[in-house]
């Protein structure tokens, strides 16, 4: 079985989520990669070094510069003529592209795969991770998105893939990129951070969120996350959101500060290795999943904790 993996990159480096996708794909058989973008020679060279990779298909064209699904999908569909499965990490880019490809191939996609049980059998979370379904696909070709936190990252070095250019399918004329506001963030990226400190509604304001959460995160070398309530209230930007509809994270340590532990939030972090909760309500649901819980007023205990670390 030959699998084509979508390579997510920032123009120079391959994203960690893709390394996890390569591991998932390797469980299906031979792994080929697709690098699409503009001026992606460096990415293609880096991708070819990923352990276990065979061919790296490179589509270098302005039409692919912003990974617009309308332009990428026809390219993937062409390549799927000689591949049996298409795998993308379940990032916002992967989730945008893969179902469009699936529909064009007349395949029902399997979303957010947690494990590969066989060539056509997978597990995946449903109901915000409150249930795990084992599903079997009867489609001749498979289209999968995989959850990055569920697979080890393939080694970024050690492979010897061959780089092969593919012809561009060109601009489809349906959509165009206008711009983006990508938050400059010096902290570790949430989906790969080893430690995450997240703040909830209890922080009360953007100023207090930064005044309390940031110094604690600095002390721990941690990424910063937030609950949806904190994001909606404007205390933190939207890309901080952890949960069913935000980012799925599984760090070594997750510190939840003033977060109640709604199922939609737990869906995004309950696979963290160690969960620490600080909440003034001893009955808050977050304590049911926390390894270490501290009942107290965060405005008092967080500064004290930051100071004593």
């Amino acid at each position: 079985m030959k699998t084509l993996v979508w390579v997510e990159h920032d123009g120079s480096a391959v994203k960690d989520a893709t390394l996890a996708a390569v591991t998932a794909a390797s469980k299906l058989g031979e792994v080929h990669l697709l690098v699409a973008g503009q001026g992606v020679d460096g990415v293609a060279q880096a991708a070819a070094k990923i352990a276990g990779v065979g061919k790296v298909h490179v589509a270098d064209d302005a039409a692919y510069a912003h990974a617009l699904a309308e332009n990428i999908a026809p390219l993937v569909v062409d390549l799927m003529g000689h591949h049996d499965a298409f795998v993308a990490a379940a990032t916002t880019t992967g989730k945008n592209i893969a179902p469009r490809v699936a529909a064009l191939l007349d395949v029902m996609q399997v979303s957010e795969v947690l494990s590969v049980e066989g060539p056509d059998t997978f597990t995946r979370p449903i109901y915000a991770g409150n249930a795990i379904a084992t599903v079997q696909s009867s489609d001749a070709k498979k289209v999968l998105t995989i959850r990055g936190t569920a697979f080890d990252k393939a080694a970024a070095e050690g492979g010897a893939g061959t780089v092969e250019p593919v012809a561009s399918k060109g601009e489809q004329g349906l959509s165009s990129y206008v711009g983006s506001e990508i938050a400059a963030n010096a902290r570790p990226e949430l989906t790969s951070a080893k430690i995450i400190v997240s703040g909830g509604r209890a922080l009360g304001s953007e100023e207090q969120f930064h005044a309390l959460i940031d110094p604690l995160a600095d002390k721990l070398g941690a990424g910063v996350g937030a609950s949806r309530a904190a994001v909606d209230a404007g205390y933190a930007p939207n890309d901080y959101q952890v949960g069913q509809t935000g980012k799925i994270v599984a760090p070594e340590v997750y510190v939840a500060v003033g977060i109640s532990g709604a199922i939609q939030h737990l869906a995004g972090m309950k696979d963290s290795k160690t969960i620490i909760a600080i909440n003034k309500d001893e009955d808050a649901p977050i304590f049911q999943v926390a390894d270490l819980g501290l009942v107290g007023d965060l405005f008092k205990v967080v500064p004290e904790l930051t100071e004593k670390l």
Binding site: K95, A98, M108, Q109, N130, V135, E181, L292
Partner: protein, 249 residues
């Protein structure tokens, strides 16, 4: 301009899902069902576009069991104009839903289809993208802002690193993210009024679409349970434990 909004009836988001003892699925007997939260946002956005962008008619569609009619009525009470209920013998997967929707689009000729980004039961996050693919239309997924001007929809999307704005040629598909708007509650008079709004009854067969599932669920199980750990007495004890774990020096 006409807008089509597909709405799905799902387990209410406040209800804790329970896995059936026989491992065949999640128990949906005698539990509260509601409109998928993202679809409420889609309906709300369509209504707002009536004022902002000259939308003249909002058609809502639900595919599923006859009870999905209630979900359509909810959307009509919010302010949609008419409904189409498509019943099917089997569970219909996103690909089947997208194929039925593509047929409805052919008939209704909307300029815009607004869907939820994901249904919170199966968490598939596929249908909008699939519909866009089948129709050969532009797609603006995970939208937190939509602006319509002339034959272009400018959509701000919630992406992993922040926000991205794309311009879509109309007709187009948009899927909603949580921050697009806050849906209204239907008032009692509007709930009464909704009862007399038109609702067409169809079946999947009427559209000549084969909706046979491609995916079989072999088993549904509870996830590994986490058990509650210990509560520490104070910050000093927490610091001690963090040091013991090697998290703090």
């Amino acid at each position: 301009m006409k807008v089509l909004v597909p709405v799905k009836r799902v387990l209410d988001y406040n209800v804790k899902p329970r896995v059936k003892a026989d491992g065949t699925g999640v128990d949906l007997a005698n539990v509260k069902m509601s409109m998928n939260p993202f679809d409420e946002i889609a309906v709300e956005e369509a209504i707002r576009l009536k004022d902002r962008a000259g939308v003249t008619e909002i058609v809502v569609v639900s595919i599923g069991e006859p009870k999905a009619q209630e979900t359509i009525r909810t959307a009509l009470a919010m302010g949609a104009d008419r409904g189409i209920l498509v019943t099917a013998e089997t569970r219909v997967e996103p690909l089947g839903v997208a194929k039925i929707l593509a047929k409805i689009v052919e008939e209704e000729q909307p300029q815009l289809v607004i869907l939820g980004k994901q249904a919170i039961d199966d968490d598939n996050n596929q249908t909008g993208q699939m519909l866009a693919g089948l129709l050969g239309w532009a797609q603006g997924t995970f939208a937190s802002k939509i602006e319509i001007a002339g034959d272009t929809a400018t959509v701000t999307r919630e992406v992993d690193g922040g926000l991205e704005t794309d311009a879509l040629k109309l007709p187009a598909i948009v899927t909603t993210d949580l921050r697009l708007n806050e849906p209204r509650y239907a008032s009692l008079p509007n709930i009464m009024k909704a009862k007399s709004k038109p609702l067409a009854q169809k079946t999947a067969a009427d559209y000549g679409v084969d909706v046979t599932p491609r995916i079989t669920t072999l088993k549904v199980a509870e996830p590994n349970k986490r058990s509650a750990g210990v509560k520490v007495a104070d910050v000093d004890e927490l610091v001690m434990k963090l040091k013991a774990m090697g998290v703090a020096k």
